[in-house]
């Protein structure tokens, strides 16, 4: 099966959940639809959703929760 990385649209801090106490948006093994939220990027105190850009299954998260990331950096890998 082909794989595809979901890239960070912005530089900032990557979050896998909507708040510290919330459950993660997605876990490894979860099926996602194109456009579904898989995490947030905090950039300059504002939060932006990260969407899956294809239907698929999340194989792994490459970036950890609260990890600083650059624009274009892979956040998670999908099998499509």
């Amino acid at each position: 099966m082909a794989t595809k990385d979901i890239l960070s649209p912005l530089p900032g801090t990557f979050y896998r959940k909507s708040s510290p106490d919330a459950a993660a948006y997605k876990s490894e093994g979860d099926v996602v639809k194109k456009g579904e939220v898989i995490g947030l990027i905090e950039v300059m105190k504002s939060f932006h959703e990260v969407h899956a850009d294809a239907d698929g299954t999340i194989v792994s998260f490459i970036a950890e929760n609260e990890e600083p990331v650059m624009a274009g950096q892979p956040l998670a890998t999908l099998t499509i």
């Binding site: 912005l10 530089p11 900032g12 801090t13 950039v43 300059m44 105190k45 504002s46 609260e66 600083p68």
Partner: protein, 458 residues
Amino acid sequence: MTRSVQSLFIANRGEIAVRIIRAAKELGLQTVQAHSLADAESLAVKLADKAVNIGPPAASKSYLNIEAVVAAAVASGADAVHPGYGFLAENARFAEAVEAAGLVFVGPTPQQIRMMGDKVSALEAAIAAGVPTVPGSRGRVETSEDAAKVVERIGFPVMIKASAGGGGRGIRVANSRDEFDRLMPQASAEALAAFGDGGLYIEKFVASARHVEVQVLGDGRDVVHFFERECSLQRRRQKVWEEAPAAMLPEDVRARLCQSAVDLAKAVSYRGAGTIEYLYDETTRDYYFLEMNTRIQVEHPVTEMITGFDLVREMIRIAMGEPLRMRQSDIIMRGHAIECRINAEDPAKGFMPAPGLIESLTVPGGAGVRFDTLLYQGYTVPPFYDSLLGKLIVWDESREAAITRMQRALGELEIGGLKTTKPLHRALAADPDVRAARFDTQFLELWLEHRASMLDTY
């Protein structure tokens, strides 16, 4: 009591850290700049005599980490800590920790920070000092009879607010008794459904409010004011464009407003730089206390421009135990000053943040122009903190001349490599309503709804 201070630790970042370093150097102090891993190449680090890494990029693990900041300050051998604005500047626990470590905190006492940081105790202090507050029920109204008594006292229009609400949710405005009687039950039912609490309170509604604020300095005994600023041009409650003085304020109102700020600060024996914020109703000429900020503010330079005093230098002197160096009669305002906040945001794309590399930089100059910034060519603006890149400040003899000078300075300012809010300021400076000082705190949001798309052309 005079405290011997030789070395100042700056527990902040960005343009305000640069500003503090400059004031400290003029006082002959050594400077120690705290920085996160992401700020190792910052202008403040380059300008300071010494720099100390206090943790990872996330502010919660560096600039907001009280233990790490205090430990770094002690280890650096500094004798005083300046908190700047934001981060820990209004955190009473931080001020306590600094003092407990035997260092001087450049700011008010922890008790003063705590009192003014709590909405209820701040309002009580204002009322006790005779400062006008927004008329209203001062708490929940339990019955419709109580509600009726309140509106009879304060008059229409009134605002019905959910006790449990926030951020503008659960607010209704009634312009007459009929409307009030109709809206009260609706508001209660809605509050119950939305917040699980049907409690309501009532406040006078000011349809067109302007934000004015008075700058004060206190030494723990005496207090002086440095007149007022107007900061009505706001987006999402963030100030965008600030001025001093407030152009529309009649002279007699100005005198009473500034005196009320002094009264409040004196009543709490205020120490350091502080700002008392008010809501001003231009139609009735009434002003109402909103809150007191117990720190230096972003927009302090416009006050410095019209009075000629260096507020940051004075607040350090006060922290060192010196009495106020000026009497009220020494503080005279002259001309008009304007500050435009230049943020790393794209105003044409919903103010999307735009961190990144500064490929080129041209700083405006000439008479009456000041640019307080964290930028230098080749610097990479990190994505982890707020988007303020710099503050373009101009002074001129009149407001009209200051706007013209701001347009000239904005024309010179070039920040290559990322999107900034410069086009917004060029558009505002050309707007007939802005030029005529016809605006309130709602103005900019409405203005942006109609004009955001054309900001590309500025």
